[in-house]
Every structure is written in C-alpha cells, then in structure tokens.
C-alpha cells in the first residue's frame, strides 16, 4: 500500500471552489482533484478530467458473460444431456436459441453489472476495509476541498503553493496523507 502527501484547500461554497480552481490554474498550478458532497455541474471540465473508461470495461465484461453463457448452455443442454422440453428440437444450439436468449441476456447483465461495480471499487479504492479517501469528514457534509500534489507543481515551493491556495478564498489549507495505490 503506497501513501503520498497532498496539499488540500477547503472551501465552504462550490462557486468559491470553482473560482479558486480557475484562479490557481491561471497562475500555473495543476489541481489534481476536488471533493464535494454533491455532484457539481461542469466541475470535470474545469479540472480537465479525462472521460471514464468504465464503459469499455463494461463491454468487455458483457462479452465475457455472453461467451460463458453460450459455452455453458451449449455444453449442458446440447452436448452433455439433451432434454426433451415440450417437444422442442434439442440437438442443435440454433434451433433452441429462443429458449436460451433470456439466460444469455441475464448472464451478460450479471457479469457486466458486477464487473463494473467491482472495477469501480478497485479504481476508486473504496473497497470494504480501506480507509476513507476524502481529506476531511466535512467534504461529505457542507465543505469542498481541492487536492494539489507538490511533485506535479515543481515550479513552486511548498510555501508558495500554500499561500496561493489560501489567497483563493479557502477556509483552511492543510497537508494530509492518503493512499494512492494498493495491492
């Protein structure tokens, strides 16, 4: 488990935070992340966040689920033990396809859904037992925080960064450690 130190600035209003981020960016500071109790419209554009790739992951999980379902059904219902259900043709996969589609669909959804949830937990380090990632409990209540990494802003000293943050309308500036990687 790797831990790293970050500088945090706390705001008591979301508009103040967005204005603060813009002010810091105009001075050439890279703001890594932001914490808020609720989704803020347009925040990801201000931070320049990349679009999530979870859709690609979901597609791969879905395809995996579909393939597994087809292989299993084909082995169980066609190859190993063909059952006579209501006189339906049971010696080929394609003739029985309508009966298999619900299972194929459900298994695709099952794999895609669980895969996405687990990927999300891993990626955001919110698996059960891991310490909370947010810098301060009040970012889940009525405060907002920005996160700045010292090593991404080599142009400035730590003191300079902290002064600039406190000039952007914060209520508090502090340094804290959090996990950046586990496993």
């Amino acid at each position: 488990m790797t831990k790293e130190k970050f500088i945090y600035g706390m705001y008591n209003d979301d508009d103040l935070m967005i204005a603060g981020i813009k002010q810091l960016q105009s001075k050439g500071i890279h703001v890594r992340d932001a914490y808020s109790p609720f989704p803020i419209h347009g925040l990801e554009d201000v931070l320049g966040m990349k679009w999530t790739r979870i859709a690609i992951a979901a597609f791969i999980y879905g395809i995996t689920g579909l393939t597994l379902a087809v292989i299993t059904i084909n082995y169980m219902m066609i190859m190993d033990w063909p059952l006579n259900i209501g006189g339906k043709p049971n010696f080929t996969f394609y003739q029985n396809l309508p009966a298999f589609i619900p299972i194929m669909f459900e298994f695709t959804v099952l794999c895609a859904g669980h895969g996405m949830a687990i990927t999300y937990f891993f990626r955001n380090m919110t698996l059960p037992g891991l310490p909370a990632r947010n810098p301060h409990p009040r970012t889940t209540d009525d405060h907002f925080a920005i996160e700045i990494a010292e090593n991404e802003n080599k142009k400035f000293s730590k003191e300079e960064i902290e002064t600039m943050i406190s000039e952007s309308g914060t209520v508090a500036v502090f340094e804290k450690e959090r996990i950046v990687k586990f496993l």
């Binding site: 419209h41 347009g42 990801e44 679009w51 859709a55 597609f59 209501g86 006189g87 339906k88 309508p98 009966a99 589609i101 619900p102």
Partner: protein, 393 residues
C-alpha cells in the same frame, strides 16, 4: 433566424414525391397483376406509419409537460410541427377504415358476414368486433387525439404572446388527461386496427409492441428534421446535448421494441399452441429472410452503432443510422399488416415503395408548412432558459 422558410425547391421535391405516390396507385389500379387489396394494405401501412409518428410527437409533448422536463423545450416547435400532421393522418386512416366498412377491401376478415356465419370464434367476438362499434371507436380516438394536438399548439402560441407561467402549469393537467386517454386508446387502436386483421389470434402485449415501434419512428423523424434544420442554419440554440438525448431515446426505445418483440415471440414459440402460432407461421414461412432481417435491423443496427456516446452526439452519423432504423420500422408495420391480409402474396414492389414516397412527401409538406407558421423557438416557456443551457456529458 427564427423564422423558417419553406423554399420553392422543397415544395417541388415534396410535390414530386406526392405525384410518385399517385402515379404508383394509378399503376397499381391499371396493372392487372396488382390486386386492389395490395393498394389498400399499403394505404393502411403508410397511413398508420406517418400518423403514428405525428401522434407520437403529441404524446412526447404531453409526456414532457407532465414530467416538467426542460431539455426538449428548444425542440418543442419541431415536435409541434410533426404533431400537426395528426389531422391529415387521421383522414388518410379514416379513408381506409370507411372503405373497409363498406366492403371495398378485404383487410378485416371479421367484417365479412359470410365468414362470421361459419365461425364460432368470430361470433363470440361480435359484440366487440362489429362494424358500427369499431368505426365509432376509430372516429372517437382519432377525434380526441386531433383535439389534443390542436390544444397543445394553440396553448403554445398563446404562451408566446402572453408569457407567464399559468399556461405551463395548466399544460400539466391537460397532459395528465391526454396521457391517461392515450394509454388506453393506443392499445385499443392496436387491437382494432392491427390485431383484428388476424381476428382469431390474440396477444396481451401487442399494444405496447405497436406503441414502442411508433415511439422510435417518431423520435427518428423529429431528430431528422432537427438535423435538417440545423444544417440549414436554423435552431442555433440546439447543441450536441439535445442531439445526444434524442439519440438516447432512439437507442433506448429500440431495445424496448426488441424486448417486446422477443417476449411475444418467445412465449408463442415455446408454448406452440395452434391458435397462437397462426400469427408467426405465415410471417416466418413465407417471408423468412425479409422478416428476420427486419428484426435484426431494428435490433443490431441501434445496438452496434448507437451504443457509443460519440455516435449519439455526432448528428451526421446518427442521421445515417436513423434512416436505416426508420426503414426497419416501416418494414415492421409492413409485416404487422401484410401477411395477415395477403397471406404469401405480399411484395415490396413499385406500388409499396411508390406509396411510401407519396405519403412521405405529403407528411413532409404538411410538417414544413407548419414549421413555417410559427417561430422555430418558443419565446416564453418557463423552462426555455434551462433548455438552451442544456449540457450533459
């Protein structure tokens, strides 16, 4: 540029399309190899297809008014213009229905007194399936739908002139009444006009199946008109997020359609009861390839091409995919009507395609004329500002 101009060039194109339609009807009447029923079947298919698009536009306005949604307001005039084909479409449908009631065609088998006399099941259904009651239902449904379409348009123009929020608030009540009425009558219409073609057969989710099909066709038509208008430099306030939302509707409702199609098909296939399989046997045995390709077009094309966010936001790509699905849903209506009437004698030939173009020309002529009659952007809708700032990722 808020005022749309219906150019002479478009008028000529649509006029030419209408002439193609009339010419193909004339060709069908003089060519002895084309039976009269083929023309009537085409009139029902195209009459319903374009009428349902317009009716869906009215319904969509109602759904969004009742749900107080804001994003569609920038497109409201496009929806209104499409919805105002409802009265014209109602007339095209009534022509077919009255002709059927007068025994000028054989679309509805149960209308033949000779057939009913020898058929216990049709005698049993007679209290519901008899010509006066059936025609009465059709007139009432078409009339009320037209009435609501006019109300929405009138209130919208009144809102432009007067401003304020009272019209907006009242529209929620109007929409609640319309949606309850529509919820029941859209199903009754599906029974009356399409399920009764195969009078012995029945399916409980048929109404939703018809409804989901008309929903996609309606969304596609509104999107294609928006695409055209944006290409001509109108609708400046419409951005990629509105297109994304329309794309999501086209994508999502395609899956609703596939789900309902498959639910109906699988149960009938599994149970294999003679009175139920009568619906699928002519469709699958006589029209194997075209029937299954219709299903695949309506399912696979939206799934493969519209799953990604990028394609839903790019209106040029969305337009190409939409046109394919649009034709796919015309094929859907074709397979709902034709095999029940013409058995294995259905063709997609000059008559069918010509009449499709003719009805399309008439539809677009009416819609473009209505687009011209009012500014393309509503002025005083309370949610207009929300809609022009619509932004989703």
């Amino acid at each position: 540029m808020d005022q749309f101009t219906f150019t002479d060039k478009s008028k000529k194109i649509f006029g030419a399309l209408i002439l193609i339609g009339i010419a193909s009807i004339a060709y069908g009447m003089f060519d002895s190899s084309v039976t009269a029923d083929r023309i009537w079947v085409s009139a029902l298919i195209n009459g319903w297809f374009f009428f349902s698009i317009a009716l869906m536009a009215t319904t969509f306005i109602a759904i969004n008014s009742a749900a107080q949604s804001g994003w569609y307001v920038a497109l409201k005039r496009v929806f209104e213009a499409v919805s105002l084909y409802v009265p014209v479409g109602a007339v095209t449908l009534l022509i077919v229905f009255i002709a059927s009631a007068m025994h000028m065609n054989h679309i509805y088998h149960w209308m033949d007194p000779e057939a009913v006399a020898h058929d216990a099941l049709l005698q049993h259904k007679e209290p519901y399936l008899n010509i006066p009651f059936w025609l009465g239902r059709a007139v009432v449904m078409l009339g009320v739908w037209t009435l609501f379409t006019f109300i929405y348009r009138k209130k919208s123009l009144q809102e432009d002139a007067e401003g304020g929020t009272s019209i907006y608030k009242k529209s929620m009540v109007t929409s609640a009444f319309f949606l309850v009425f529509f919820g029941y009558t859209s199903v009754v219409a599906a029974w009356d006009w399409f399920m009764s073609i195969d009078a012995h057969w029945f399916s409980t989710l048929y109404g939703w199946y018809i409804f989901s099909g008309m929903w996609i066709a309606g969304m596609i038509m509104v999107f294609l008109l928006t695409h055209y208008l944006m290409g001509k430099g109108y609708l400046k306030e419409v951005n990629a997020s509105h297109i994304h939302d329309l794309g999501k509707f086209i994508f999502g409702v395609s899956f609703l359609w596939t789900y309902l199609f498959f639910s109906q098909f699988m149960l009938i296939w599994y149970a294999d009861i003679p009175e139920e399989v009568t619906y699928y046997i002519p469709r699958i045995n006589d029209y194997t390839w075209s029937f299954w390709s219709m299903v695949l077009i309506n399912f696979l094309v939206p799934m493969l091409f519209l799953m990604s966010k990028t394609t839903k936001r790019n209106r040029n790509v969305l337009a190409v995919v939409s046109v394919i699905i649009f034709f796919g849903h015309w094929m859907d209506i074709y397979f709902i009507v034709t095999p029940g009437v013409l058995k294995d004698q259905g063709h997609i030939g000059i008559v069918e395609l010509g009449m499709l173009l003719g009805y399309l020309g008439m539809f677009l002529f009416v819609v473009f004329r209505e687009l011209e009659k009012a500014p393309l952007m509503v002025k005083n809708h309370p949610l207009l500002n929300e809609s022009t700032h619509h932004h989703i990722n």
